[in-house]
């Protein structure tokens, strides 16, 4: 049958593709608000629970002190490297507090503070950065994934874990942290897409600190905001002032609840700033001005909380001092324990490559064993004043 046979002259009738290919969702509820969500410094702050404010304050102050302590430890050679979260403590602390006991945290290299705020021993949290054996803790025990260095690669892990938990019927939520730079990686895209298609109970928190090492946000994206990426996956995007601990805590809390109740994933962009360099090895003066840093110091997460507590008369000098003393004591404990040399066992190199060592690894372990023995013997001989030759 030709078209000619089907119809006569006149305007062609409209046909449309079958409904499956039609837009399925209204994008409006997925779009972030134009302004980042804030509580501190706004009238809404008056309604914030004083206990929450105090808790956030204590944790953020501890976090700040933890950051300065860890940075100091790099100078003493006690950490191989430290990517500081100074300035980002509100996000770190809120991330930890948003999660329940059985939930999982997926941190990046910059997020040891979140792990510590979740209750992990800071020495364990810093094991990898110390240059010792990796992770330092059992991820399953703490429900904290290993610190992740390859950018955005932990995001699909979070999605898979959350999905597995849901399949098993456990009401576990996974919270994954990533930086503004990390959003450019393909793994970010794939993870968010899987999460939305599977409606997995996972929350993505982008700490947008404006830089990926030296590269400013404008060279990273042309999007209205990073939160706008959410709509392309069919999940809601939220924009929040990342230095406002109360706001981040609230937005994260809502997203975690939504995920737990089967509502699927959320993408949250928190606007923040790292006041320190990228790591102790970085020279931030090469790519940003003191003025910029100063502008952000005026919006410091500690300051915002202390201002609110003070304004509402919820803390006094003594209270502030108590919080600082507590933070100081923890830092002193960390310093002391990090100043002890870790026990190292070179033979561990072969211990966990596979469940069972291959014959090749057994041979290599034997070789190293022999070398270490010879070394020890040579040292002993040298100590005895005897002449030591090559081992």
């Amino acid at each position: 049958m030709t078209v000619m046979e089907q119809q006569g002259a006149g305007h062609a009738a409209r046909t449309a593709p079958p409904p499956a290919w039609q837009p399925s969702t209204d994008p409006a509820p997925l779009l972030p608000d134009a302004e980042p969500y804030r509580v501190l410094g706004t009238p809404a702050a008056a309604h914030t629970d004083p206990a929450l404010l105090r808790r956030l304050h204590a944790e953020v102050v501890r976090g700040r002190r933890y950051n300065t302590q860890a940075t100091a430890l790099t100078k003493q050679g006690r950490l191989a490297v430290y990517p500081s979260s100074t300035g980002q403590e509100a996000c770190q602390v809120a991330a930890a507090l948003a999660l329940g006991e059985r939930d999982w945290l997926f941190p990046s290299y910059r997020d040891t503070l979140a792990a510590v705020a979740r209750g992990l021993d800071p020495v364990e949290a810093l094991t990898l950065l110390r240059g010792d054996w990796h992770t330092g803790y059992d991820p399953r025990e703490h429900r904290i994934a290993p610190l992740c260095t390859p950018l955005a690669t932990q995001l699909p892990h979070a999605v898979g874990l959350a999905h597995a938990a849901r399949l098993k019927g456990d009401d576990v939520v996974a919270l994954a942290l990533v930086g503004d730079g990390g959003t450019s990686e393909g793994d970010f895209h794939e993870a968010l897409n899987f999460a939305a298609v599977w409606s997995a109970p996972v929350v993505f928190l982008v700490q947008n600190n404006g830089f990926a090492i030296s590269v400013p946000l404008a060279k990273q994206t042309a999007a209205p905001t990073l939160a706008h990426k959410a709509v392309g996956y069919g999940m809601p995007g939220r924009l929040v002032d990342g230095n406002d601990a109360v706001a981040v805590h609230e937005v994260l809390g809502e997203a975690v609840t939504r995920a737990r109740e089967g509502g699927g994933p959320t993408l949250i962009e928190a606007l923040t700033y790292r006041l320190d360099a990228h790591t102790n090895a970085d020279d931030a003066t090469r790519y940003r001005t003191d003025d910029e840093v100063e502008a952000w110091r005026a919006h410091d997460p500690v300051l915002l909380l202390e201002r609110e507590l003070t304004a509402r008369g919820l803390i006094d000098e003594a209270g502030l001092k108590a919080v600082r003393d507590d933070a100081e004591a923890r830092a002193a404990d960390l310093r002391e324990r990090m100043n002890q040399d870790p026990e190292l066992e070179p033979m561990d190199l072969f211990a966990d490559v596979y469940a069972e060592r291959t014959s090749q690894l057994r041979e290599q372990a034997a070789q190293l064993r022999a070398e270490l023995d010879a070394e020890a013997e040579a040292e002993a001989q040298a100590a005895d004043g005897a002449e030591g030759g090559r081992a």
Binding site: T135, P139, R140, G160, A174, G186, D352, Y354, S359
Partner: protein
Amino acid sequence: MTTVAAKPATMAQALGRALRDAMAEDPTVHVMGEDVGTLGGVFRVTDGLAKEFGDDRCTDTPLAEAGILGTAVGMAMYGLRPVVEMQFDAFAYPAFEQLVSHVARMRNRTRGAMALPLTVRIPYGGGIGGVEHHSDSSEAYYMATPGLTVVTPATVADAYGLLRQSIASDDPVVFLEPKRLYWSKDSWNPEHPLDVDPIGTAVVRRAGTSATLITYGPSLPVCLEAAEAGRAEGWDLEVVDLRSLVPFDDATVAASVRRTGRAVVVHESGGFGGPGGEIAARVTERCFHHLEAPVLRVAGFDIPYPPPMLERHHLPGVDRVLDAVGRLQWDQ
């Protein structure tokens, strides 16, 4: 190990059966990948699994290999045993970072606290007339990545048994399926299908005295055929099937070469930087004074895999294997 002659099946069927049995026995086994559900996979290996076990156990994922492997990592972190299918060898490359930086290292990174019991099935190699990107032999990449177990069956019985073992392994396994053997048929014993040697064991598929052909996967049938043809030249060739590249069975391989005094490594993967170099080097390290000639290699050329119309010139065939055997300095 001998296969009790019973029901003949194709390798693809045996692999499908292995997946089914593993899923039936262990509810933590999940199959995932592109088109593995409704379609049953482009090679039909996963046919019927979604129907029998539901979409949550056999899942058509979005089209993103890093995402597939990355989410499988997360699932394994939570205690599942994901079996990932990569549609073709070259389409596993997008997942390379996940494989090398996470899959291979998670156990080590966590001091054994968090092993990843996941299997990555990759159809590999040529000989099926595939266009560009459909015939890569990528085993060299996986061999060079500590933390991965690298398995490749060459027989129908091994396809079943080694896949079951791989899924049961607490370590991540790259399971390389020789595409052109998918339709190879053999009798095997469905009553005792697990009755094959463990991963890490090479098997002498044909005993001989003149020289050893060391091979695996798609090249095993070629070597067996060459060994038969070699009788006309007066050679009695031994054929060793490696079955896994990691762990590598040094003992079996070296014992064979010490017996025969000569060896040729045969594989389809490119020669330069391919598995053959490693194998030849380690055999030589272990058997130097037993060798009458250098260990030779017959491999694919060092070129991108050729188009269907030219692939026969690339693939190591019987003649090329026998030519190499002929160069093993028989006069000395």
